[in-house]
């Protein structure tokens, strides 16, 4: 690309050739324009980063703030408020510094590797039950609706202590919060209010009658205000299900689209751990990217960004950077180490990552054991992406066995 081509901002998100393939722009931008001007769905502009080092640098630098509430920050979505990244819904939770670290550490204790290891047998049992039910209903089946979606919802609801029978409600609220184009401002506000009231009700109930769950313990700890408790519950519920639900479908699709990958895992299930990490790295459909705002001037990737810049970190493009990963364009199930940026980096990196890893490993383990003949029920070219969501995913994953 020449400089003149970059005078006009590129329209973001890019159009996709196929559900599992990266957009052509990634390789071109990494090579020739690592800090690219893009036009967001709101019409506002931001700088898109596609190289590994640049994305990692920005995500790890505390001067870049996570929420875009400054007056000159870019709005992301075309709704009036600018969508989830611009919303002040979670403003009760500290955004950075010691306050954020304290908040985070109160939650992190619930997501330790050991705690996740102790939950794993339960996750596998649930996955087995869901697979059995899917098999009973007959083939072809939608693996996303039968397994990918219900499993993470069940796990996070159980951890929080809210009934997973309400999952259709969560699904709607979460979709409204994370969709950048589909809902009107009024619908978005209504979903936020309903979700807030629902979670407030649970917080009140747990104060009266505590259970053995994360929300009850946070309430009993007395260190968080009611607004913080509600925002924390809402955040964990949304983060805990939409991301992993979509990743289960994408991971299985990536493994089946070239069945030699599936067969390699059948032959050697000890590859499950590195295969999960590689699926996380290789996912070209990770989502919108992570926006950051910086008040002061800063240099990134050889470009000076003025104070008041909004930067969009494309972790999925960074994960395909040949400068960081040998054979970045190939899915290598034995890749190790695999320092992908799918969970972010630095002080805000995903706190649920041990949960996500454990769920993905458990699902893959159960599928390989119970349905070794699993295969796509449609040609790969017929797989469709969910449009407009902050979190990327397939609309369904038709399979047979």
């Amino acid at each position: 690309m020449t400089d003149s081509e970059h005078e006009q901002a590129l329209t973001y998100p890019f159009t996709r050739p196929a559900a599992l393939e990266p957009p052509a722009e990634w390789a071109e931008l990494r090579q020739g324009c690592p800090v690219a001007r893009v036009k967001l769905p709101s019409g506002d502009e931001a700088s898109l980063l596609t190289r590994y080092e640049d994305v990692k640098q920005v995500l790890s630098d505390p001067r870049f703030t996570r929420r875009l509430t400054a007056d000159d920050a870019a709005r992301i979505s075309d709704s009036e408020s600018g969508g989830v990244f611009n919303s002040d819904m979670a403003s009760s939770i500290p955004d950075g510094g010691e306050g954020h670290q304290q908040w985070r550490r109160r939650i992190t204790k619930w997501f330790t590797a050991r705690r996740m290891a102790s939950l794993r047998p339960g996750m596998e049992a649930m996955a087995e039950q869901l697979v059995d039910e899917m098999v009973e209903r007959g083939q072809p089946a939608d693996l996303k609706a039968s397994l990918g979606f219900p499993l993470p919802v069940w796990v996070i609801c159980d951890m929080l202590g809210v009934p997973d029978s309400d999952r259709d409600k969560f699904s709607h609220w979460s979709d409204a919060l994370l969709n950048l184009t589909r809902y009107t401002e009024a619908e978005l506000m209504a979903a936020q209010v309903e979700f807030f009231e629902y979670m407030s009700g649970h917080i009140t109930a747990k104060r009266k009658d505590p259970g053995d769950d994360l929300l009850s313990e946070l309430v009993a700890g007395g260190e968080m205000s009611d607004d913080q408790l509600v925002a924390t519950g809402m955040g964990l519920l949304v983060a805990g299900h939409e991301t992993t639900a979509n990743m289960i479908g994408k991971m299985v699709a990536m493994l089946l689209v070239d069945r030699r990958r599936w067969e390699a895992l059948l032959e050697d299930p000890s590859l499950i751990r590195t295969a999960v990490e590689e699926a996380l790295r290789y996912d070209a459909n990770l989502g919108f990217g992570m926006p950051r705002y910086i008040a002061e001037e800063v240099e990134v990737g050889g470009t000076v960004l003025p104070g008041g810049s909004t930067v969009l970190c494309d972790m999925a493009a960074a994960n395909r950077d040949e400068r960081a990963f040998e054979g970045a364009g190939d899915m290598n199930l034995t890749r190790s180490p695999n320092p992908h940026l799918t969970f972010g980096a630095g002080a805000h990196s995903c706190l649920g990552q041990p949960l996500a890893r454990t769920e993905l490993q458990a699902v893959l383990c159960v599928l390989l054991r119970k349905l070794p003949t699993l295969d796509l029920a449609v040609p790969a070219g017929d797989l469709r992406r969910v449009e407009g969501l902050v979190v990327g995913g397939l609309s369904e994953l038709p399979v047979r066995w």
Partner: protein
Amino acid sequence: MKVRVDDGKCCGAGTCVMLAPDVFDQRDEDGIVVLLDETPPERLHATVREAAGVCPAAAIELDENV
């Protein structure tokens, strides 16, 4: 090999514990890293290097000359 961890940087992602549970653990109260074995045996060196390489907070430092 000598391992050092920076519990001020640690973000509690637990990646190191999932990889090398004989070398790393997390505090019960806040999930922050605890170093169990400062000089791990040679058979664990590869996984410890991997843990240091993938730590999202770059909180693990290795001295390979010890």
